[in-house]
């Protein structure tokens, strides 16, 4: 990558002297010009903005959030050669734990302590694919989530939604 590029060259004193007011003004102008160029060449895609507006539907103070406590992408050492290793996720909401394993084939998981629950696989504000756990709290979904992902669980004790993440 470009790490060898000029901005690594920290001993370059010319670039570190304090700017005169005139120069600072010129740099401000350049920055503003860049901002305008960005608005033309790389604006927020309008369709995305619209999705964010609609995401207000996800605002729900009645459900509990199951926080991401373990993510193998971050917390596990990479296994050499195991490029298709499943992604393991663990979420906690109070006493309830949700373990999830993501593979290219789909997802499987378990609610602990074991209990039956209705589960939705969410990819956005709209209703997600419905699943039901077995008596042991286990569930399987035979499609691999892609993009934004969360689970909404309806248990005996109320609604739990996992933290959103990107898969």
């Amino acid at each position: 990558m470009s790490d060898m590029n000029d901005d690594q060259n920290d001993q370059d004193a010319d670039f570190d002297e304090e700017a005169s007011p005139d120069e600072e003004f010129a740099l401000e102008l350049l920055e503003e010009e860049l901002r305008q160029a960005t608005a033309i060449l790389d604006p927020v895609p309008p369709a995305l903005r619209q999705i964010a507006v609609e995401a207000f539907a996800l605002h729900d103070l009645d459900s509990r959030i199951a926080e991401l406590a373990f993510d193998s992408v971050v917390d596990a050492l990479p296994v050499r050669g195991a490029t298709e290793a499943p992604r393991m996720l663990t979420f906690h909401a109070g006493e309830v734990t949700v373990d999830v394993e993501l593979t290219p084939q789909g997802l499987m998981g378990q609610v602990l302590p074991p209990q039956s629950a209705r589960i939705e696989v969410l990819s956005g504000p709209q209703a997600g694919a419905p699943l039901t756990t077995d008596d042991m709290g286990r569930f399987i979904h035979e499609a691999s989530p892609a993009g934004p992902f969360a689970l909404r669980l309806r248990t005996g004790e109320g609604v739990i939604v996992t933290d959103w993440l990107t898969v």
Binding site: N5, V53, V73, G124, W164
Partner: protein, 212 residues
């Protein structure tokens, strides 16, 4: 950093920390209204803060598809955590930092999956340039678009740290140093000097092209 050079604090007094149309007090009030169910307040937050989120995502050089997904994840999580965010007036920093962490995670999972490929390099080649083309359609704008294009070219050629910092600063309205710090995981005090150095480098590049 060069020994003996005290980082300039000259810019810290500029209205930089206000961030244009949606300042911190406004953000806090809008978050509170949205928590109370005001959809218009939520929309105002999305309109006002989307460019910041997008800039953070773009600064991390994800593919278009990944960038779109991370942007959505950040807003979904924000909607979900709304009302549970402890300091609503710092929502901008919350968004910037959430976007950064999500970007780093996606980059990390890509690296795991494609060990030999450099996804960032591949992405640059496939980058979609349609907005530029539609802009160029106007003949009157041709000269200006020429300028915009080589400004962008020189910006893209900057080293990684500069490109990243400037891409965040280019969000509109201009983000405050707190948000930049959250977006990049660097100290607030280092932003001013780095910004100056990067803008000078960019200007030197433009000068070398005879384009100042």
């Amino acid at each position: 950093m060069t020994a003996g050079v005290v980082p300039s604090t000259a810019y810290d007094d500029l209205p930089y920390t206000r961030g244009g149309t949606v300042d911190r007090a406004d953000v806090g009030a809008l978050v509170q209204s949205a928590v109370d169910g005001d959809a218009a307040a939520w929309k105002a937050l999305v309109e006002g803060l989307s460019p910041l989120v997008w800039s953070v995502v773009r600064a991390h050089r994800l593919s278009d598809a990944d960038a779109h997904e991370v942007y959505q994840t950040v807003w979904f999580r924000f909607a979900q955590h709304l009302g549970r965010i402890r300091e609503p007036d710092k929502a901008k920093s919350w968004l910037a930092s959430t976007a950064r962490h999500e970007c780093l995670k996606v980059l990390k999972s890509l690296r795991r999956l494609t060990v030999t490929d450099d996804p960032q390099l591949l992405d640059r080649i496939s980058e979609d340039r349609t907005p530029e083309q539609s802009f160029i359609d106007s003949e009157e704008a041709a000269a200006q678009s020429e300028r915009v294009r080589y400004l962008w070219q020189e910006f893209e050629e900057l080293g990684e740290r500069c490109r990243q910092l400037l891409r965040i600063l280019m969000a509109s309205p201009k983000p405050g140093y707190q948000e930049v710090s959250a977006a990049l995981g660097i100290a607030v005090g280092s932003i001013g000097p780095l910004r100056q150095r990067c803008l000078r480098r960019l200007r030197a590049r433009l000068e070398a092209r005879g384009a100042v």
